[in-house]
């Protein structure tokens, strides 16, 4: 299927109507969603009405927006006016429908994009595999017997399967980057506080980020540009002006200090992951290596804070109706209720130390490359995996390389490493806070060099 910018160009140029674009997307979803289980709701009537409105604007000669007629879908923790925000849960399914759209849904629609539905996820975003007991597992379009990753599994799978060219997800510990890597698409987690989370169901507010999925760097940049901007209704969304990245994509690598993450990021996974990461770095001429400061402690602190904040948020339901939680997540939330306060306080103090150390590191390097996951997608239902001779929980270990980065709120793009078959692997492209422009500049250069890119799927 064409990318977002190609669709928008056709709609804006009168070569295709928005209604045709949306109808095509709905037909693809209708034909294949049962096999992938990416969508939990399809907003066909709303989508066709919005498409009609975009076409009407085009006919008057007015500007329909940079993403005119581009179908998109969102993780089902984003508020969508008129439908209930379930956040992967059965508990929230009895809530009233949302009375308004989440800020980012509204911003994409203001840019001309058209919402076609809501997407599957791990319950309350606590998971890396989207093996949701209530709504079924989302299947990986590259191999439907395998997981799509999570918790934004539906968001990644919907883009990988070609249902929609772009989607939105959330990332607390890796929930955009893990599924993007396992499904072979681009997924970006901007700097913490860059994009508004208003109108989304939070999980662990200290780390909750939102961001886009797409099939090209240019599409990621276009969506990201449309999503930026302050929002007083999200207390962590910063009051910064929009800093468009699209005009900067072609600047190349010249003058940038790019390094590969060493130490912690070169072990704790399967050999093929590190080989692919090294090959990608070598193809870009990257030879410098840097070590992040105590990433294993950053991951530990992220786990402590996530468990505590997530459990506190759901404590009332855990006390009164724990049987209604997904059996996949209930024990995780229950264990979070028991975390000693000293662990939490230590984790939040360690976060300050860690961010300071990273700020020192980023004086000597602009962009860091690292693997996104420790292994490719594993079969649905697999419980353990072997890493360095040790049996580890297969889903829980998926965040080993993403958690130390979101812990510091860094902007990161997970990009599919080109030519990796049969199952995709992702490369994390990482920069200092607020330097999304550098992340996407390196990604664009890597894409142009054939180092990263989406492998088309034939259905």
């Amino acid at each position: 299927m064409p990318g977002a910018l190609a669709i928008a160009a056709d709609v804006r140029g009168g070569r295709q109507s928005a209604q045709e674009s949306v109808r095509d997307a709905l037909q693809r979803i209708d034909a294949r969603n049962d096999a992938i289980n990416a969508f939990t709701a399809i907003t066909a009537d709303r989508a066709m009405a919005a498409a009609k409105a975009v076409d009407a604007i085009c006919q008057t000669g007015d500007d329909p927006g940079p993403l005119a007629g581009v179908p998109f879908a969102v993780k089902n923790l984003f508020d969508v006016r008129g439908i209930t925000t379930i956040a992967g849960s059965r508990i929230d399914a009895s809530n009233a429908p949302a009375s308004r759209d989440a800020t980012l849904v509204a911003r994409l629609e203001a840019a001309g994009a058209i919402l076609v539905g809501a997407l599957n996820m791990d319950e309350y975003a606590f998971g890396f595999s989207t093996q949701n007991t209530h709504y079924g597992a989302t299947r990986n379009p590259h191999d439907p017997t395998r997981i799509a990753g999570g918790s934004s599994g539906g968001s990644a799978a919907a883009v990988a399967a070609g249902f929609v060219p772009i989607s939105l997800g959330s990332d607390t510990n890796g929930s955009i980057r893990v599924p993007a890597a396992l499904c072979g698409v681009f997924g970006m987690k901007p700097t913490f506080g860059r994009l508004s989370r208003s109108g989304t169901r939070l999980f662990a507010a200290s780390f909750d980020h939102v961001g886009p999925f797409a099939r090209s760097v240019a599409d990621v940049a276009a969506i990201y540009d449309a999503l930026q901007g302050p929002d007083a209704t999200d207390p962590v969304c910063v009051d910064r002006p929009i800093e468009p990245v699209t005009p900067l994509l072609g600047q190349g690598l010249t003058g940038l200090r790019v390094a590969i993450a060493d130490g912690y990021f070169t072990g704790g996974g399967h050999a093929e992951v590190f080989a692919a990461t090294e090959q990608a770095a070598a193809a870009l001429g990257v030879t410098n290596r840097v070590e992040l400061p105590a990433p294993e402690l950053a991951r530990a602190a992220a786990m402590v804070i996530t468990a505590s904040e997530g459990a506190e948020l759901h404590l009332a339901d855990l006390k009164t109706r724990s049987a209604d939680f997904d059996p996949m997540t209930r024990p995780l939330f229950l264990s979070g209720t028991l975390v000693p306060a000293a662990w939490y306080a230590r984790a939040q103090r360690f976060r300050t130390w860690y961010c300071n150390e990273l700020a020192r590191l980023f004086k000597d390097v602009d962009v860091i490359l690292a693997p996104a996951t420790p292994y490719p997608a594993f079969p649905i239902g697999q419980r353990m995996t072997e890493v360095d001779g040790q049996e580890l929980p297969a889903a829980g270990h998926l965040g080993v390389f993403t958690q130390p980065l979101s812990f510091a709120g860094l902007p990161v793009l997970a990009a599919p490493i080109a030519g990796v078959r049969p199952l995709p692997l992702g490369l994390q492209i990482i920069a200092a806070p607020w330097r999304e422009n550098l992340v996407l500049r390196v990604a664009a250069a890597a894409e142009a060099a054939g180092v990263v890119g989406v492998t088309p799927l034939e259905f």
Partner: protein
């Protein structure tokens, strides 16, 4: 499929249990009671396994020589307007 997932997930966390001390198991039960959280018998070994994993990773975090002058990452700002 869901049943298979539940079973496999339980087993993965229960694999942590043999490494768990008796006192940690007691802590889980007592802390849950103090918090007013009821843990079903079939969930208890899984919760203990997950908590044991948290305790394992928290140990070096708590042992890290963090200067006392380092403050928590979230900072409070007094304000008069509504959020």
């Amino acid at each position: 499929l869901p049943t298979a997932i539940i079973a496999s997930d339980r087993e993965s966390w229960m694999a942590q249990v043999p490494r768990t001390s008796e006192s940690l198991g007691r802590y889980v039960e007592e802390a849950a009671a103090t918090m007013g959280v009821s843990i079903a018998p079939e969930d208890l070994p899984v919760v203990i396994g997950i908590f044991a994993n948290l305790a394992r990773v928290a140990q070096p975090l708590m042992a890290f020589a963090l200067p006392e002058t380092v403050e928590q990452a979230p900072t409070f700002t007094a304000r008069s307007e509504l959020l």
